[in-house]
Subunit: 132 residues, 2 copies
């Protein structure tokens, strides 16, 4: 991706007062929503240039290269933007699981019969995801 392309890409996006934009990761072929996280300009540039999804961690205040520790990477298939330019949709190919709990998707709780029910199994034990 050229610098001109990057300028075009970045200029279309409305970052919030903290310089962030929310990004939805969706499995490109199944349509499953995997997670939502945040990107700043640097995270988006890294994602666009490498094809590996990189977010901005608000809790750690640093770039968050998805899967760098756990191996559960996201290959970018396509980047989309909404009508307002203030939300990104990442069509990805998720290796393994997206959620730190070891589930495929972070959205594993559904409101049913007056309470939150877990609707997806743990596929990989969390201690396996983050072992030394």
């Amino acid at each position: 991706m050229t610098n001109v392309d990057l300028d075009t890409l970045l200029s279309s996006i409305t970052f919030d007062e903290n310089g962030l934009v929310p990004a939805i990761a969706q499995q490109h072929d199944s349509g499953e929503i995997l997670m939502v996280a945040w990107m700043n300009r640097n995270a988006l540039v890294e994602t666009a240039t490498t094809g590996q999804v990189c977010y901005w961690s608000r809790s750690r205040d640093q770039l968050w290269r998805k899967g760098e520790t756990s191996g559960q990477r996201q290959d970018l298939i396509e980047l989309r933007i909404d009508c307002d330019g203030d939300c990104l949709l990442l069509l990805v190919d998720q290796t393994g699981v997206a959620c730190h709990t070891g589930r495929r998707s972070c959205f594993f709780r559904a409101w049913r019969e007056g309470g939150w029910r877990e609707i997806a199994p743990v596929s990989i034990a969390p201690e396996q995801l983050y072992k030394k």
Copy 2:
């Protein structure tokens, strides 16, 4: 939904410093992501109790009953929450189009060959959506 249920529902959600939480609307059967908007407590309570999706409009600073003006309503099929409790996923049945541009989804621009390309047609002319 009882008041106890509503308390349980609300207490699971981490609203941001403005009292808002992002909500993704996904067509329940096709998996298509339709839009992302924001909810405050009142919008969520109204959505949960009526089954009709209601957001909080940050630009108008008021409740935004989706489809009230345009007729393009969202029937709530299921509510999900992510692992952090700071993002909602609404599985909905969308009447017509979700986007104010008259397209089914707000995410109608994809980054291809160095530029944003429109990948979805206008299904309903915007002037038809908001005619008096």
